[in-house]
């Protein structure tokens, strides 16, 4: 029966081609617009580490005076001071934790073999690799001992390894970061998520760092951060040592807390730590204030999904509803004109349900056609997004989920629009229709 209904729908489309084209384009444009903004939304709101995003926590400390404001909704700075980072890193609490910040160097071999280039480099502790599940394809991350001794070792991504050493193994090779000679001890698999979830302070979709060096090198190499440094009170800062001792926020801090007990213990630890620091006279607060958002909450808090995109998604769904109203009107006209024909079918023995099913199949066909055409339009839209804003080139794409949801949304929307007209059609009394013939 189903195929018979499809055949009937096809005949019906051919009988009123203009109206059919109008309806299919209405749904296609609606789906095209909606899927364009929804795809970008989908990519922005994606959970980068679904298996442990509830365990990884961004640590924020309010080490500012009461009343000093910041642009986050709860006045907490996103980064912490160097001294707090060191204290929290050394703290004896059950948690996997690490400080981290971004810097950069010119990479070269001190000869003419490659043209020197600038590379962003992450300075962090060994636990970073565990917290963010960094997979090594060759070699190892540095050992705790190497970190404690501030050895000049580095791990690089597969991409950078190929760029520097081609097909050869990078482990054991030496490379200059500015004037500093580093030894490569490991190669990790490229980060392949479009959100730079472990550092949202300088652009949420920036490219990932391709080289890491130990946090303990910060002091001996006087490593300056490439990123935001935020102060809140006047301090005369001239030397690097001044900066380390200052109240400026420039280090990110992450903790992995595996169970509620650890989480609870960590909360208590932070409370006590802040009370202790306040007693030293660093700042004045009524009550200790800190943040330990998990990764998903933190992404939301940092506004990874842009406001513009939320506005666009809302508007495109309203747009889709206009398209639906449009189709509903047209279907109403089309189906009602067919009442006499339906009367004959009913008189010949078709039940109301059969008639209803036939019409639902017809609108689903419309939805399918519109959905497929809509995917094409959305691809065009996403291409437009990518050309206008190259920064979104990783975001403005449709993954499989979106590809499959497009026709599903289109078909459900069409069925929704078709229900009322279909109901009207099968409600009619066959006798009356037959009489007028």
């Amino acid at each position: 029966m189903f195929f018979h209904y499809i055949d009937l729908s096809w005949r019906s489309f051919k009988r009123t081609p203009l109206i059919t084209i109008l309806m299919v384009s209405a749904i296609a444009i609606g789906i095209g617009v909606t899927m364009t903004s929804l795809s970008v939304y989908h990519m922005m709101s994606m959970d980068p580490m679904p298996h442990k995003s509830d365990k990884v926590h961004a640590v924020q400390l309010n080490t500012r005076d009461e009343g000093s404001t910041w642009w986050t909704e709860d006045d907490l700075p996103q980064q912490i001071t160097y001294q707090d980072a060191v204290n929290l890193y050394r703290a004896n609490v059950p948690a996997v934790k690490t400080p981290s910040f971004r810097t950069g160097y010119s990479i070269h071999f001190d000869d003419d073999s490659i043209k020197p280039f600038i590379e962003n480099i992450r300075v962090t502790g060994l636990p970073f690799f565990e917290i963010f599940d960094v997979q090594f394809v060759e070699g190892q991350p540095w050992t705790q001992e190497q970190e404690d001794n501030a050895e000049m070792v580095t791990v690089i991504s597969r991409e950078l390894s190929e760029k520097l050493f081609g097909k050869e193994s990078a482990v054991g090779k030496q490379v200059y970061y500015d004037e500093h000679l580093f030894r490569v001890i490991g190669v990790f698999d490229n980060f392949n998520h479009h959100i730079k979830y472990y550092d949202l302070t300088n652009g949420h979709f920036n490219s990932h760092e391709r080289a890491f060096i130990p946090f303990s090198l910060t002091v001996p190499l006087e490593i300056n951060n490439w990123g935001n440094t935020n102060g809140w009170k006047y301090q005369d800062i001239r030397t690097f040592e001044d900066k380390l001792q200052s109240e400026q926020h420039w280090v990110q801090f992450w903790s992995q807390l595996d169970n509620p007990q650890e989480f609870q213990a960590y909360q208590e630890y932070l409370t006590n730590y802040l009370i202790e620091q306040e007693e030293k006279g660093r700042f004045e607060r009524e009550a200790p204030s800190f943040g330990t958002r998990d990764l998903t909450d933190y992404l939301d808090y940092m506004g990874v999904v842009t406001e513009d995109n939320r506005v666009l998604v809302a508007m495109s769904f309203m747009f889709l509803s206009v398209c639906l109203a449009n189709i509903l009107g047209l279907l109403l006209g089309k189906f009602l004109k067919r009442v006499p024909e339906v009367g004959v079918r009913r008189a010949l023995g078709a039940s109301k349900r059969d008639v209803f099913a036939q019409h639902v199949v017809e609108v689903s066909m419309l939805g399918l056609l519109g959905g497929l055409l809509g995917i094409a339009l959305a691809q065009l839209g996403l291409w437009g997004v990518r050309t206008t804003y190259s920064y979104y080139s990783e975001l403005a794409t449709m993954d499989l989920t979106m590809l499959f949801s497009a026709p599903i949304i289109a078909i459900s929307a069409c069925i929704l629009a078709g229900l009322f007209p279909a109901y009207l059609v099968c409600k009619t009394n066959p006798a009356i229709c037959l009489k007028t013939q």
Binding site: I19, L22, A26, I29, G30, V33, T36, S37, Y105, S106, H108, P116, F117, I118, Y176, D178, E179, Y234, D236, R238, T306, E307, D308, R310, V311, L312, M315, S316, M318, F319, S321, V322, C323, A325, N326, L328, G329, L330, L332, G333, K337, G381, G384, V385, T388, Y389, S390, Y391, Y392, F420
Partner: protein
């Protein structure tokens, strides 16, 4: 006269279609008017004049990796090399490049910090940069008060700078904010407790962040502190920029090769890149409303055609009973206007509600009712136009049709 009552009667006979049309028009009005409000806001922002001839300027960054380099000498040598290139008008070191999205900003007081309890203490934020005296020519800035600083007044350091400046040239926008009475020239701004004299005022200078809430606050300090990472701004003769930009990396590496040259970018391109997300939003909204209006117009068109087909016999009868063609057209126009106006009343309420929702939750400008009025007029015209064609066709239905049976 306008046959309002029969129109209402016939509308009531096919309520569903009429309601749908009203809803469509209402939602269209709400979306289009709100989009227009956002579009207007973004257009204003995108069209703010920076004060520079961006198409003749480009930036360039260098990063020195050789140890034991005399960085200050290198910096000045780089300036000279740039200046020696064919087509270059002037070139200056500039620690923070305008329109680039990356820079420094700070609050400066109109009194020393230890007087910050005083009633007329003001502290105003501005973007700032440290740069040699040649910058005013490189950026081709217009001096409106005082004077520019000269080369001999510039403090020069080799990466070990720490001394605070004693003079500053500021943009008019900043001066007006820190000294609103117009007597700012010759007065001081303070870093902590150290005074800095305002010696000159430029007419217009945009800082590194066009999107900040004070885009035109900018201050120039006479300091050159050469570190390993150096940025330069270059002004070329018109139409020469492309060529200079293509050659510059090679020329600079020939002068000194222990460095990386990067980020060679026209200031107009830098600005466009900085503003790309807003341009994107603008384009998306324009496409959205164009499509939306077309869909609604098509919907109105389709409904009218359908109504006419359904009423062919009645129209024929009316014509046979003496109605003129213009009566028929008028009937459909009035019918459409009734629907359209109902939709607009509903849509106006929706638009204002939507505007408030957006304003509460997002950083969009407060919604002005004027946009509803403009949009309503526009939608009314579009809807009447979409009725006109089918109504004309209806008017041409022959009266003889009334006498035929189906």
């Amino acid at each position: 006269m306008l046959e309002i009552k029969p129109i209402f009667n016939s509308l009531f006979r096919s309520k569903a279609g009429a309601i749908l049309l009203v809803l469509q028009i209402a939602i269209t009005l709400a979306i289009v008017s709100n989009s227009l409000s956002i579009i207007k806001d973004r257009m204003d922002y995108l069209q703010t004049d920076s004060g520079y001839s961006e198409q003749d300027l480009f930036q360039i960054s260098t990063s020195v990796f050789a140890k034991d380099t005399d960085l200050l000498y290198l910096l000045e040598e780089t300036e000279r090399t740039l200046l020696g290139m064919n087509g270059v008008v002037n070139a200056s070191f500039m620690r923070e490049v305008p329109l680039s999205g990356s820079g420094s900003s700070s609050n400066f007081g109109n009194k020393p910090l230890d007087q910050n309890e005083s009633e007329d203490y003001r502290s105003v934020n501005t973007a700032y940069t440290t740069t040699p005296a040649s910058i005013f020519d490189t950026l081709d800035m217009t001096l409106i008060e005082g004077r520019f600083y000269t080369d001999s007044e510039v403090l020069k350091f080799n990466g070990d700078g720490g001394d605070l400046p004693t003079q500053v040239v500021v943009s008019k926008h900043y001066l007006d904010e820190i000294y609103p009475d117009g007597d700012g020239l010759g007065q001081f701004i303070y870093i902590g407790n150290s005074p800095i004299e305002i010696i000159g005022v430029v007419e217009r200078a945009m800082g590194p962040w066009p999107k900040s809430n004070r885009p035109l606050n900018f201050a120039f300090f006479p300091i050159v502190d050469a570190t390993g990472s150096q940025k330069f701004v270059v002004r070329t003769e018109p139409d020469m920029r492309e060529q200079v930009m293509n050659e510059v990396e090679e020329v600079l590496l020939a002068q000194f090769n222990q460095r990386v040259i990067m980020n060679i970018q026209g200031l107009d391109d830098a600005k466009r890149e900085y503003q790309a997300s807003d341009i994107l939003m603008l384009r998306m909204l324009v496409i959205l409303i164009v499509l939306l209006v077309s869909i609604t117009a098509l919907g109105i068109f389709g409904m009218t055609v359908f109504n006419i087909n359904k009423r062919t016999k009645q129209i024929g009868t009316r014509r046979a009973l003496g109605a003129r063609k213009s009566h028929i057209i008028r009937y459909f126009l009035v019918e459409n206007s009734i629907l359209c106006i109902s939709g607009m009343v509903l849509g106006a309420i929706g638009a204002i509600y939507l505007g408030q929702m957006l304003f509460e939750h997002y950083s969009v400008p407060a919604f002005s009712a004027m946009y509803v009025v403009y949009t309503a007029i526009f939608v009314l015209i579009i809807s009447l136009l979409s009725v006109l064609f089918p109504a004309n066709r209806a008017a041409n239905i022959s009266p003889s049709i009334a006498t035929r049976s189906v």
